[in-house]
């Protein structure tokens, strides 16, 4: 009997121990969630953690790395379970949504002014209503990659791009230009055609906020019509566009099966690593003839959560992470454009490869910042794929999408 009681007590103790959270020592620990950028394999985050901990004894950084395609949902689950990290990389387009949950601490409340003055203008996308809600960590503009052995002069307009694609495409072995119809973490490539045709997602209200959805106007419909024509009328894209997302399109280019692809600066590094002998060059994103040139500008930001206990340690970490050496390493490793002024002047970025990206920055347009962006993006993906698969006409698809988007956002 006594043995049984001892056993029961032992079992109860084990279960009790499970319920007790690990009791740490006196050291301060900060928890960071980083996203996995699709560039070369690297150890940037581990190295940063090591360097920081060596320079700041007493502070440890717990690092979790999450793929982009799961990042948003994983963060939401953590936040909802009161398990938010102290800081995390997010797509700047998610910040309004997180801010609506009341979990984002504006960075300017605990970082010195000098810190926020480090950044180049276009990178500070997370400045909303005069407050800075996220520190820019990655900046990219999108451009046209083309096979320089097949294409001597890169196309500047859609019309030239179509002509080039028709000229170089060889059915079955080489496709002119990539178009993807499979959902991805961002709405590639419709946004390139929308912005390149003077279009926009929403009507801008006089106070600067976003009103009704407007992708079903002439510019929006024409953009989707052009994409649909590339796929179905001129047949200059890869067949079966609905099975490809940005990742597999990049694979096609690396495999030598695509003559042109629209993507970001990280892809240069991927070509270097995975298809070194592939001759390529980069040019500004083509636009519709007669319309101004605009490409997409995307920033990712580090946000700090209100629940972070040790803001001073977080501040120390950010100050440390934004020294020029680590920033340059980040940009090199992940193939991003510089966000810090002093790094932007580095010789590394003054090359023919980076020039088209940097030259486009002044006119590049970001994603619209709306709290319901993940819903908007999902609806837009379905609209674009419906048109590409000819399930709906571009006008019908976008009209239906706008109705659903306005309803979801409660906009009349």
């Amino acid at each position: 009997m006594r043995r049984r009681i001892a056993l029961a007590a032992g079992a109860a103790l084990c279960i009790g121990l499970l319920a007790v959270p690990a009791l740490g020592g006196g050291a301060v620990s900060i928890r960071a969630v980083w996203m996995e950028y699709d560039a070369r394999y690297n150890t940037f985050w581990q190295q940063l953690k090591k360097d920081f901990e060596a320079a700041n004894p007493g502070i440890t950084v717990d690092t979790v790395i999450v793929p982009w395609s799961e990042g948003h949902d994983r963060l939401v689950t953590w936040i909802a379970g009161n398990q938010a990290p102290d800081l995390a990389i997010v797509g700047t387009r998610w910040i309004l949504e997180f801010n609506k949950m009341g979990v984002v601490e504006p960075v300017d409340t605990f970082m010195p002014k000098a810190f926020t003055h480090k950044f180049i203008g276009p990178a500070l996308e997370a400045r909303i209503g005069g407050r800075l809600y996220g520190v820019p960590v990655a900046l990219s503009a999108r451009a046209l990659y083309y096979r320089s052995d097949l294409i001597k002069t890169p196309p500047r307009t859609w019309q030239e791009m179509l002509a080039v694609a028709q000229r170089v495409a060889k059915p079955g072995s080489l496709y002119g230009i990539g178009v993807s119809g499979k959902k991805f973490a961002e709405l590639t490539e419709y946004v390139y055609y929308l912005y390149g045709n003077g279009g926009d997602f929403f009507v801008t209200n006089p106070d600067g906020s976003y009103g009704r959805c407007r992708v079903n106007d002439a510019a929006g419909v024409e953009a989707l019509q052009f994409m649909t024509d590339l796929v179905n009328k001129y047949k200059v894209t890869e067949p079966n566009v609905a099975e490809n997302d940005r990742g597999t399109l990049q694979d096609l280019f690396l495999a030598g099966k695509l003559a042109m692809i629209e993507t970001g600066p990280w892809f240069g590094g991927m070509i270097q690593e995975r298809a070194k002998s592939l001759p390529f060059a980069v040019a500004p994103m083509p636009h519709n003839q007669g319309k101004p040139q605009h490409t997409l500008l995307v920033t990712d930001s580090i946000i700090v959560f209100k629940s972070a206990k040790h803001k001073d340690a977080v501040a120390k970490f950010l100050e440390f992470a934004y020294n020029d050496r680590h920033r340059l390493e980040f940009d090199k490793d992940f193939g991003m454009l510089p966000v810090v002024k002093t790094v932007a002047r580095n010789a590394y970025f003054q090359t023919p490869f980076y020039r088209p990206f940097i030259e486009q920055l002044p006119t590049a347009k970001p994603w619209p910042l709306v709290a319901e962006w993940s819903k908007v993006e999902d609806v837009m993906w379905d609209a674009v794929t419906s048109a590409l698969l000819r399930a709906k006409s571009p006008r019908q698809a976008l009209t239906d999408a706008c109705r659903e988007i306005d309803q979801a956002r409660g906009v009349k």
Partner: protein
Amino acid sequence: MRLSAQERLAYPLLVPAAALIGALILYPIGATIVTAFATTDKLGRIVGVAGWRNFQALAADPAFWQIFRRTFVWTAIAVAVKTTAGLAFALLLNLPFHGRRAVRLLTVIPWALPYPISAMIWQWTYNSQFGLLNRFLQATGLWPHPPAWLASPGSAFAANLIVDIWIGLPFFALVFLAGLQAISPEYHEAAAIDGAGAAARFAAVTLPFLRPVIVMASLLSVIWTFNDFSVPYIVTKGGPINTTDILVTHLYKTAFQFLDFGPASAIAIITFLTLLAFSLLYARLYFREVG
């Protein structure tokens, strides 16, 4: 009534298990039911009473009904194929032949792999540019112009079904095999002496003995298949144009992508009630069989 010391000891020993069941099963179910009738903020915290509004909104949404019907079609086809093909497999594996043990072991592989890994392997296998499947079909001349499986709604749905079946089949094969081996050979011998051929023996001996196993295995499979998240979410992400979404992927998107926790909970309740009704029906059938 006086309990012996040993019986009294049972209660404290049950407490940890009861606490875990309460915390991990009962509490989430209760919270989901409450949330289904509530309005929530983007973190899923309840901010008001919705009454039946979440359910009414679903009922008025044609997309939801489409997904609801598709989930039934998905489950019906997958379970029917897995049951019949699983039985055929089990009969084959029950035959005496050289290398039977190795074949039995190999059969388990799809089931032993983690679901997401299988789904990811298949996603690549189906790729029309780099995938093994179309390469194989073309090289062997079996299908000179195979479809791009994941690029259009119909073939993408079929492709997902095949993956679900591929993963689920070994379970049926093994369970049925165990059932077959439990049938005493004497019954078959007796039937053979009475002049029954192979088909008659299968119908009169094998099937009746196997029925409780078939009923139980297919019930479990209905529940697993109905709730198979990994396959449609990883292979096609529910696309193209949401045509391979089933209730559970729709639920996930509603909750964790769009942060609409009220409607998502309503979908969860509908899924739960559907499967509960189905299980009760099955349980009656099962106990009638066994009884």
